[in-house]
């Protein structure tokens, strides 16, 4: 009961925090300038424009959605999508059971500890002997460990990750706030962290929820700061153990430490104290400065690789960020620093220059207190945590960042090779509105370059986008989202597992290769057929149970249903010859016409029986034919739809 109470109270507090965040985030509704999308000038009809808008700012149009957008008005729809917060009842109904995703990092760590932690605790608590990994004993220990875990109410980590992955798939499929889903996907990939790094994996769901999602239409600076302080990022790019180098900062420290040791321990003489200090210093030397985050925050998150920074800037930025780490988490991280924090006491932390903000800790004792200069800007020599905040702000508003981010957005939403003029407009907007993402997006969609005929359907769907757009277009009932995860992985995009901090590349060339393309076709066939239990489709229902009268009609009808407002002449033309096989009618007739030989029965009155039998046969025949028709129609439709989804045209957005 107690734990439930804690969870509830945590949820409530989360709510409050969420509310505060929302009220701070920029609200596009409050902007005064009205925007207009210049699609008519580009020669597009309103419906074509709506289709383009949906293909770029949603995970694919659902049947009838183009009508909705036209009815709402394109600009109005976009504005509503920017604001978000549209009720998502059906999504919520599908995700009720996902309790883990509301947990804080600490709770997640309590409930879903890493197997290695469980093992460690089991050893420490004497459940199994310290040296227990003998094969002979393994079975007994296995049981003991399982029992221990059960008593402690630990759950398997894989369950946690399944929930998270399923959640992403369901949100992308069913959320009415499509733009927020698309942007969350984009920004997560921009600030990539990965399940493949086990140390940070457990903290990734909270990372997406708390450091990415609330900021996707807000100020870039806020998202940058939130990611920098989030445990997942701190662990993924190693800043959590970046400590001021001893030669930079610790000269005086050694003398002080020596005196302290001697004070604390009367029996310790000067030589012993020196040796001890030396030993500690050696251990520290191994830790020292870690430049990984400082480098990637410039190269990948803000300025871009050609953003005009040097290796010296990286080192200096790393020194500014020394001490940015996680607040200790029980049984997981930071037992060493916990002792120090306890000694200082929570209420005196800030006096000592420490900052404790949720899961984030600025550890003053690790911070490099000397002066630093990054990109020509001098940082106050002893401003502690604020130095880092200032650094990130400077990076967030840098001209190179405006260029890098706007180009990346244009590549994602417009074209693999966006027009320079478009990027320049967006860049200007970014700087003018101080990194306001909504404003940049509005500028982008209000530019003629967004509607240029050359960019319509120029982008290739990522495997994730392909899978989600298919189930959305088919109005599929996704009961087992994890099945889709498997397919998306096979097609080349194991979501949340991209190892490098670059995130998945955002270009067709990366996604389209031999193995991946084959799997796209196989995915199309699988999702349209009944092969994929747990992802149910109703192909006839999609066309209001209106049965196509011929294969040709099926092809045309379903092509249009799945790829609305596109010129499908080519696709249909290419497939039509396959429909006009001269011998075909005969073959089908032969196959279908093979009647069962009449059943033998005892005859009394031949004539009577004949009539009876004829009537019975007729009825059976009819039923059989209907059944056969149903099956054959279903199979035929499945194959048509499978080929449409696997077709080149459906790969584009």
């Amino acid at each position: 009961m107690k734990s439930r109470f804690i969870i509830i109270s945590k949820i409530v507090s989360l709510f409050v925090v969420g509310f505060i965040i929302i009220s701070f985030v920029y609200h596009p509704a409050t902007r005064t300038t009205v925007f207009r999308f210049p699609y008519k000038e580009a020669g597009l009809t309103e419906r074509q424009a709506a289709a383009h808008l949906l293909s770029r700012f949603s995970f694919g149009a659902t049947p009838g959605q183009i009508d909705e957008v036209v009815k709402t008005g394109l600009e109005n729809w976009f504005q509503k999508q920017l604001i978000g917060g549209i009720p998502d009842d059906s999504l919520q109904a599908r995700t009720l059971e996902y309790d883990a995703l509301k947990m804080t990092n600490t709770e997640a760590n309590e409930v879903f500890p890493r197997p290695i932690q469980i093992l460690k605790m089991a050893r420490e608590n004497g459940i199994i002997p310290k040296d227990s990994a003998n094969d002979v004993d393994r079975k007994i220990y296995k049981k003991k460990i399982a029992q221990y875990a059960r008593e402690k109410k630990y759950r398997r980590q894989s369950e946690f990750f399944h929930q998270f992955i399923n959640y992403k798939i369901l949100r992308a499929t069913y959320s009415n706030n499509q733009l927020h889903e698309v942007l969350t996907d984009f920004w997560f990939n921009h600030f990539n962290v990965s399940f493949t790094k086990k140390d940070c994996a457990l903290f990734i769901p909270a990372y997406e929820r708390d450091a990415i999602r609330p900021f996707v239409t807000g100020k870039f600076e806020d998202m940058l700061l939130a990611t920098a302080k989030s445990p997942a990022m701190l662990l993924y790019l190693d800043n959590f153990n970046s400590v001021a180098n001893s030669d930079e900062n610790r000269m005086g420290d050694e003398e002080r430490m020596k005196r302290r040791l001697m004070r604390m321990n009367a029996s310790m003489d000067d030589t012993a104290a020196t040796a001890m200090v030396q030993k500690l210093a050696n251990r520290k030397k191994n830790q020292g400065l870690n430049e990984n985050y400082a480098r990637e925050v410039m190269e990948l998150h803000t300025l871009g690789v050609n953003g005009g920074y040097t290796q010296a800037d990286v080192t200096q930025a790393a020194r500014i960020l020394t001490g940015w780490t996680l607040y200790p988490i029980e049984n997981s991280y930071g037992s060493g620093i916990k002792k120090l924090l306890d000694k200082i006491g929570e209420d005196r932390l800030s006096d000592q220059g420490f900052v404790h903000d949720g899961d984030f800790l600025f550890a003053m004792n690790r911070h490099d207190t000397k002066a630093k200069t990054v990109l020509g800007k001098q940082f106050a020599s002893n401003a502690g945590y604020q130095e880092g905040v200032e650094l990130l702000k400077m990076l967030a508003h840098h001209k190179s960042t405006a260029n890098f981010i706007c180009r990346k957005l244009a590549v994602h939403f417009v074209s693999d090779n966006p027009a320079q003029s478009l990027v320049e407009k967006m860049e200007k907007s970014f700087l003018q509105h101080e990194g306001n993402i909504s404003e940049v997006l509005i500028t982008m969609v209000s530019s003629p370059e967004f509607w240029n005929k050359n960019v319509i359907r120029e982008k290739t769907k990522s495997p994730f986008e392909l899978a989600i757009s298919a189930v959305r277009a088919l109005k599929a009932d996704v009961q087992q989202p994890y099945l889709l995860f498997g397919w998306i992985d096979k097609m080349g995009q194991k979501i949340y597992h991209y190892q490098a901090p670059t995130g998945f590349p955002d270009k067709a060339q990366y996604w389209i290769n031999t193995g991946a393309l084959l799997n796209r076709m196989n995915f199309g066939l699988a999702v349209a057929s009944k092969q994929m239990r747990g992802v149910q489709t109703n192909l006839l229902g999609l066309n209001n149970f209106h049965e196509p009268e011929s294969a040709e009609e099926a092809l045309i009808t379903y092509s249009k249903l799945l790829m609305p407002e596109r010129n499908l002449d080519q696709t249909i033309k290419r497939l039509t010859p396959l429909l006009t096989e001269p011998q075909l009618d005969k073959k089908v007739e032969q196959a279908a016409g093979k009647k069962n030989s009449a059943s033998v029965s005892i005859v009394s009155d031949k004539e009577e029986l004949m009539v009876e039998e004829a009537m019975k046969e007729d009825k059976e025949d009819l039923a059989k034919k209907t059944k056969q028709n149903e099956i054959s129609t279903e199979n035929m439709l499945a194959q048509v739809v499978g080929i449409i989804i696997g077709s080149p045209e459906f790969q584009r957005k």
């Binding site: 790019l237 294969a551 129609t633 080149p648």
Partner: protein
């Protein structure tokens, strides 16, 4: 027959009947030949095996004459002395002994087809599996932001047109080594490389034809070209009977992930589908607890590794001139054993290179005395050979890749002569 009738009934043919005789031309073509006549000339092939988890190089190839090793590892030390109680190490050169689990390497070593590099590792001293693997596979030990893997860059530097099967990783997901823009395939089972329409092979063929036509007419060049490549690749593999594969020369692959992966790579080699870079993984090397001696967790892994590689080498005897196999692991393990009969994360380890152009029968690199003062941070076998020195030399000598600046950006070291010149 029944499946054919069922298919006709199903009406699927009504949609996608084929114009001539119902059998797509490529199937007929393929059926008429045992092997697809290969458009790819006999290329050199490099197969890399990543030993994930960090192999204890000091147990694999032990400097058994070093008294410090015996002291540091009271229960893990193995001797080369022949006594009845334990299986001895295989004495390679009077100083180094091969773990008995690796005994099948002995012959190749004596034949000078296998070289060992000892003290190999990364200049970055990270002891995190994730980071060290990442650095080794990207080939840039100080830069996490490198978006490509070294084997993908190698593929781009081969300097001639490649087959869709140029780079194949027999793994579930694309390994970091293969990240990048040059075509590569990650597949755990070659049987999956086909259009999959359950229970209806005929329908699958016809569907394939539909797809092929569609992609042939695609307006995007990328989709069109890749489509073409895909269908030619499917056709190449169409003839392969993966289930009933018989290895040559009596080679026996272990029934293990590594054994299966190498067996399938061997099949690709024999199919002449243009494989040039193969990749497989071997797991379980993170031996913190009860590492064991001959038949502990280390010993079992060693046996699987050597038996898999030896089966591969034997199976492909007639391709040996074209073939080089190289192992790699992210770092080594502590010289001292820990409190639970294992070893912890260290620095230098060793690797194995097998091939006819290898300077074999030699333990390359440098391993000094294991006295504490000689160890890195007082605990680990120091890294004396940068992995890039070895990888680049193998790529240069075997695959004729000369552009080290692209293969390993930022690296300016010297090669150490593990290959014959």
């Amino acid at each position: 027959m029944s499946s054919r009738r069922g298919f006709l009934k199903s009406g699927a043919l009504a949609v996608f009947g084929v114009s001539v005789g119902g059998v797509p031309a490529f199937i007929a073509r393929a059926a008429s030949k045992e092997k697809i006549s290969s458009p790819y000339k006999k290329n050199k092939i490099l197969v890399c095996i990543f030993q994930r988890g960090a192999m204890d190089g000091l147990m694999a190839v032990a400097p058994f004459t070093d008294a410090y090793l015996k002291i540091a590892r009271p229960s893990l030390f193995m001797s080369a002395a022949k006594d009845a109680r334990t299986t001895p190490l295989i004495d390679l050169d009077g100083r180094f002994g091969l773990h008995p689990g690796l005994r099948s390497f002995e012959q190749a070593f004596r034949n000078k087809q296998m070289a060992i590099v000892h003290g190999i590792g990364s200049p970055n001293n990270s002891r995190s599996h994730f980071d060290a693997q990442d650095y080794m596979e990207s080939g840039t030990p100080f830069n996490k932001g490198t978006d490509s893997g070294w084997l993908n860059r190698a593929s781009g530097l081969l300097g001639h047109d490649g087959s869709p099967f140029r780079s194949v990783s027999l793994t579930n997901s694309m390994p970091r080594s293969f990240y990048g823009y040059n075509t590569s395939i990650a597949i755990s089972n070659l049987q999956d490389f086909a259009l999959q329409l359950k229970g209806n092979p005929m329908a699958a063929n016809i569907t394939a034809k539909s797809f092929e036509d569609l992609y042939d007419q695609a307006s995007s060049d990328l989709l069109k070209e890749t489509g073409k490549e895909t269908f030619s690749a499917v056709k190449m593999l169409d003839k392969m009977d993966t289930r009933n594969y018989q290895p040559a020369n009596g080679a026996v692959y272990p029934q293990s992930p590594l054994g299966n992966a190498l067996r399938q790579i061997a099949q690709l080699v024999k199919m002449d589908v243009g494989l040039e870079i193969g990749f497989a993984e071997s797991g379980g090397w993170d031996t913190h607890y009860n590492q064991g001696t001959e038949m502990g967790s280390f010993g079992r892994n060693a046996l699987d590794l050597s038996n898999s590689i030896t089966a591969f080498w034997t199976d492909l005897s007639s391709y040996q001139d074209e073939l080089t196999v190289m192992t790699m692991t992210e770092f080594g393990r502590t010289v001292k054993q820990n409190g639970s009969g294992g070893t912890d994360h260290g620095r230098g380890s060793c690797n194995f290179i097998l091939g006819n152009d290898v300077k074999g029968g030699i333990i390359h690199g440098s391993v000094g005395s294991l006295a504490t003062e000689n160890l890195e941070d007082g605990r680990d076998l120091p890294v004396t050979t940068d992995f890039r020195a070895v990888f680049s030399e193998v790529a240069d000598n075997h695959l004729k890749i000369k552009n080290d600046a692209v293969l390993f950006p930022g690296w300016e070291g010297k090669k150490i002569g593990v290959m014959r010149t």
